[in-house]
Structure formats: C-alpha cells, structure tokens
C-alpha cells in the first residue's frame, strides 16, 4: 500500500504558501488598521469610524477569490478587509477617515468607509442599506452584455437581507443567471436588532432557493472555507452558471460604529465567547500548523504592518483638506477630463 501525503487544505484550493502569507498580512492589516483608527477616534481626530473587527476573516477569505483590476467590487461600510484585498492602501483608507481632499472614495464628502475607487473597480457606495444589490445585478448584466470576463461581488450584512432592494436585486440576478456573487456577512445583528427579530430562519442562505440559485453557509472565522466557497461561486459565475449566495457566519467584536454602545444590547459573555473564535487568531494558528509562521515571524509581521499603518496614518493626517467651495462641484458633469461620462470601470 502506497502512502500518500494529504494535500494541505490551502494547497488543495490552489493557494501557495505565499498566497497564504499575503492573505494573513491582509487580515492582520485590517485588524491593526481598525485599532489605529479607533485610537484616532478616541483622540478626537477621527469623528467616525466603522470597525471590521471579527469580520476580517470572511472579508479577506471571500475577496481573495476575486481578481484585482478585473472583477468588480461592491463592498459595504464594514468591509475594510475587502477593500484592502481589492488593493486600497492604508493611506487611502486614512485619507477617507480624515476626510481629506485626496480620499479616493469621495474626496472627504462621505463618511469614512463609504468605499469607492474607480481605478480598482470598487463601485461608489452609500449609506442606505442594500441599495447596492440591484447595482451589482445591473453591472453583472452589463458585463454579460459587453462580453467581458469579469465577476461582480456584492457584500452586505444580515440586516440588508430585509430590504426590498435585496429581494429585487437577487431576483433579477437569478432570472438572468448573471455573473454575480452575493456575500452575506451574518454577524447576527443589525445594529442592536438580533437575527430572531429580523427573520424567522436560521440561515440567510436558504433564501437563495427562492431565486433559483445556490445558497451556501460557511464559517466566517475560517478564512480558507470562505475562500473555497467564493472560489467555487466565482467559477460558476465565469462559467455562465449564474449567481451564488454565500452566507458567512461571523461576529462583530466591537460596537456597530464608533458612535454605538453595544453593551445596551449584547452581553459581555456573548462577545467574549465570540472572541474565542477570532478569525485572525484561527488563521494564524493554521499558518503555524503549516509551518508558515512562528513567534518571531508573527512579531516581525505585526511590526511591519504596524509600521506601514503608522506611516500611512501620519501621511494622511498631513494631507490637504478639501477647499470649502469645492462643495459645489460635481453635481453634474463638468467640462474637462475628470468627470467620465462613460460611467465606472
């Protein structure tokens, strides 16, 4: 009987060790960037921040299956890990946090975390929940219409699934078998409203059947499981097999935003228990088990990421504020090259 070395799980998914290290760096960057931003908030330098803490695993895991510069991204406000994976830099993110003129999302017009980056294919987003869902379907329609080889992914929370737009967007995508992936980061709360008051079911993914495409549930703390689900959905999309709804069970470790006090609606025990499954930790452990990380490596990596973030933060802080009267610009197209009449990417 021949012995066979079982393939490493990431190897089986086609991920190299370098991929894995890059993914871990992203997860860690998302985490440390959150922490730095929150410190800025407490110092009074950032009036409003939206932490991703707890979601980094499912964000980076799903986003990693997308192709930078090719695919189209519609993240929601909590998706720091997604936009980092799409290619946004910490510097660009801090430009948004400090509402600077060069903020690629909005030039400081929108609240932080209202992402947009034309060059990277990150579609401009807004605050109203779930409005981006039909946009994702429309972009996917345009991709098919124009015979492009691109896939659209659209991220949202459990709360978004209650909106009419969510229903209408998924339904349209299903009818036309569009190349779009819907990713629900189910952290079981819409601000304070628990899942039980949002829906009478356990799994959002069950709704996919009502739109004629598959729904998948994954452990959002398992980066590779998220990647695997997304990779399969991505292949389905490119093969013309239509949309997939992926539900990542996750948890938000901090308040909804820097304005929220989650102690009013969640017990500390519940939060503590969730932290035991911290995706950053779980993923780090996996890397260690694969011999890709040790204490020294982890420390070095952390220091390197921290350094990158601190530098980005300082540079962004020093960047220019928008001109007051520029508030009047870009209501309609202006003459000149900066306003593209052609739409997005």
């Amino acid at each position: 009987m021949s012995t066979r070395v079982a393939p490493t799980p990431h190897g089986a998914l086609g991920l190299t060790d370098d991929d894995l290290l890059a993914m871990f760096r992203l997860v860690l960057t998302a985490r440390l960037l959150d922490e730095a931003a929150l410190r800025q908030n407490r110092m009074g330098r950032a009036p409003f921040v939206v932490p991703a803490e707890g979601h980094e695993g499912c964000q980076v895991g799903t986003a990693w299956a997308m192709r930078r510069g090719v695919d189209v991204w519609l993240p929601y406000y909590r998706d720091g890990g997604v936009v980092l994976t799409a290619g946004m830099t910490p510097y660009e993110i801090f430009l948004g946090i400090f509402a600077k003129a060069d903020d690629p999302s909005s030039g400081g017009r929108q609240m932080p975390s209202h992402w947009g980056h034309r060059a990277l294919g990150i579609i401009t987003g807004s605050s109203p929940i779930a409005t981006q869902v039909p946009h994702a379907a429309g972009i996917a329609y345009a991709i098919t219409y124009r015979n492009e080889d691109a896939v659209v992914a659209c991220w949202f929370g459990d709360g978004a699934t209650s909106e009419g737009d969510w229903h209408e967007g998924l339904n349209f995508a299903g009818i036309h078998r569009l190349p779009v992936i819907f990713v629900c980061e189910n952290n079981h709360y819409a601000i304070s409203v628990p899942q039980s008051k949002q829906m009478a079911i356990d799994d959002v993914a069950d709704r996919a059947a009502g739109y004629g495409f598959p729904g998948v549930v994954v452990d959002g703390n398992d980066v590779l499981a998220c990647y695997a689900a997304m990779k399969e959905a991505h292949e389905r999309a490119r093969a013309g097999e239509g949309p997939t709804l992926i539900e990542c069970k996750t948890y938000r470790f901090l308040g909804h935003t820097s304005d929220d006090d989650d102690k009013t609606y969640r017990s500390r025990d519940e939060v503590e228990e969730a932290r035991h499954h911290d995706p950053v930790h779980v993923f780090g452990e996996y890397l260690r088990s694969q011999g890709l990380l040790d204490d020294i490596g982890a420390e070095e990596l952390r220091a390197s990421v921290k350094g990158e973030i601190d530098e980005a933060l300082a540079a962004a802080w020093d960047a220019a504020d928008p001109e007051p009267s520029s508030a009047l610009r870009h209501v309609f197209a202006e003459d000149g090259p900066e306003d593209g009449a052609e739409g997005g990417p």
């Binding site: 947009g116 429309g138 124009r146 209501v331 309609f332 593209g340």
Partner: protein, 329 residues
C-alpha cells in the same frame, strides 16, 4: 419636417437612438412582446433582441437600481416606469443613488441614465394613473427633470436626455400622447436641457406652463386674442430642472404680468418655485400680483367623470378667465 403626435415622436427618436448606439438598452415592465402599454416599443424585442429590450419583473426599485448598475458600467439604459404613479418604490434609488453617484464619488463615477415615466391625468386614469410627479424630483440636485409638451420637444429632449452624462427623468404627459401633433424635424435635432421656450409671443401678460396644461394655456391665449384682443405670451418651461429662469424673467420683464399654470396639486408644487423666482427677481417689474393656478390639493385625480372634470377645471374655463382678469388688473 414630418407631422407626428407626441407618442410617435418619442417612439421614433428612441428607436433611432437605439439603432445608432448599442450601449442603449430599454428596460421595464411589458416593454418586450407587449411593446409597452403605450406600444412605444412594439416589435423592438424582435428588432433589437431580448438583451436590449428587457422585460423586467414587477419591481420599480429594482428596475432603476439595475439600470444604475448598467449606467455605471458603460451602458446607456433607458428605464421605463409604466406609469409615473408607480415610480415611488424607486424613490430611494433615484434620490439617494442615481442623483448622488457623481457627487458622492467626487466626480469619479457617473450615472448616465434616462428614466421615462408617462404622467398626468385627464385620461380617466383615476387615483393611480394620473399623477404629476415633477415637484418631487425637480427638487433633487443631481437629477435633471424635463417634460416636453410637443412632438418636436419630445424628440429633441429625449435625444438630449440620452446624450446627457447625468441622470434625467423624462416625463411624458399621457394626454399629449395622441392629442397633440406637430412638426418634427427630420434630422437628429437636440433640444438643450435647461432651456424654456416661448411657444407663443404676446405683450400683455406672461403665462408660464408646461405639460398638458401648456395646451390649455395656448388655447386660452388664442381665444383671448380673438375675443378680447388680449395678447398673452406663453412660455413652455419644458425643463423643470435645471429651470431656465432667464427666459421666464425676460418675458415677465416685457409683459409686467405673470400667471403660472400647472396640473399638479397647487401647494408646494413646481409652480411655487416659478412664482418665487419671479417675485424675487422681477417684483418691481410687475403691474399686478402673480397669479398661480394649480390642481386642487386632493391626493389624486378621481375616476368618476364629474369628479375628474372637477379636478381638471374646478371653475369653468378658469385659465381663460384668470388670464382675462389679470390682463384687466
């Protein structure tokens, strides 16, 4: 020049634009085999293919939302709302999304979208097939709102709307569809959005109107000249947003009297902005208080003929009479 009615002018212009640019697609309820409930796209699904003439599910927010996505990805969607009364589920997508995409992205993204919506009453459409919706949308910065009243303007403004790099709400008054005919240039003429048009010249007073009400005004003006020798200048707003205050004010400056006529509920209607603009900019030109005629402030136009007639004209021949009163004031 060819004489056409409004619905034919819209059909022909839209057809030509679609034939000339395959970024343009039409989406909405029943636009496919049915050709739309007003038959504008009859046969087009066969001609342009199902990918370009898209029968959508019954979901207006989805229609506009999907169209926004298309517009952000290189297409030029024309979304049809079957009746303007049913645009309200899409209010959020229009106000919070389409109208803000350029602004919120600091100019990085744009949304070249046209939304067509047949509006207005007097056609026995009752509470939910008669509504005027321009006041809601003219107030939304980032959105353009036009409402042609003649075949030539319908064709020219529709072309301008499709060419516009920003979202345009294109309102079609149903009562003009077949009732109003006129010459339309053969060539691909464009009517610039943001321009009003003096549809009849006059010296005694200025009447500002749009949509089907414009024709009531033109009719009254013609009779007034004949019957009473009163010369009324009639300005067709035709572009609610941006509003061409210059043309309106120039006319009021000439005549020194102004009457504003619109079908929509009077209070907080679009006519209020026109009256306000004249009051602010031309008060010392005026020989008499500005007169405003709007529809009654009831939720919508009722079905029963006596009720519908009452909505359209609470006093018999009111436009004519109020113009005459103003001329004599």
């Amino acid at each position: 020049m060819t004489e056409k009615n409004v619905v034919t002018a819209i059909r022909d212009a839209l057809h030509d634009e679609m034939a000339g640019d395959d970024r343009i697609v039409l989406l909405g309820e029943d636009v496919g085999n049915r050709g739309g409930v007003f038959r504008i796209s009859a046969g087009w699904m066969q001609e342009f293919g199902e990918q370009r003439v898209i029968d959508t599910p019954l979901a207006e927010s989805g229609i506009v939302g999907v169209a926004i996505g298309m517009a952000m990805h290189g297409m030029l969607p024309v979304a049809e709302i079957q009746f303007a009364d049913f645009i309200h589920p899409a209010f959020d997508q229009i106000v919070s999304e389409a109208a803000r995409i350029r602004y919120r992205s600091n100019g990085a993204f744009s949304c070249p979208l046209v939304i067509r919506a047949p509006c207005g009453g007097g056609i026995h459409g009752a509470l939910y097939h008669s509504q005027s919706i321009e006041a809601f949308f003219a107030h939304v910065p980032g959105l353009k709102v036009v409402m042609p009243a003649t075949p030539a303007d319908a064709a020219g403004l529709l072309r301008a709307a499709i060419a516009d790099p920003d979202p345009v709400l294109f309102l079609e008054h149903k009562k003009t569809y077949r009732a109003v005919t006129g010459d339309v240039p053969e060539e691909r003429h464009i009517v610039e959005i943001g321009t009003a048009d003096v549809k009849r010249e006059g010296t005694d007073l200025t009447c500002v109107s749009y949509g089907f009400a414009l024709h009531t005004c033109l009719d009254a003006a013609a009779r007034l000249l004949q019957d009473e020798g009163v010369s009324v200048e009639v300005v067709d707003v035709r572009s609610l947003a941006p509003l061409d205050t210059e043309t309106i004010l120039a006319s009021v400056h000439r005549t020194s009297k102004a009457i504003i006529v619109y079908e929509d509920n009077r209070t907080y209607g679009a006519g209020a902005e026109i009256v306000a603009t004249i009051a602010e900019e031309a008060m010392f030109d005026l020989d008499a208080p500005i007169v405003r005629i709007g529809g009654p402030d009831v939720p919508a136009m009722p079905f029963a003929t006596p009720l519908e007639h009452y909505f359209m004209e609470p006093e018999p021949d009111q436009v004519y009479r109020r113009m005459l009163d103003l001329a004599r004031a």
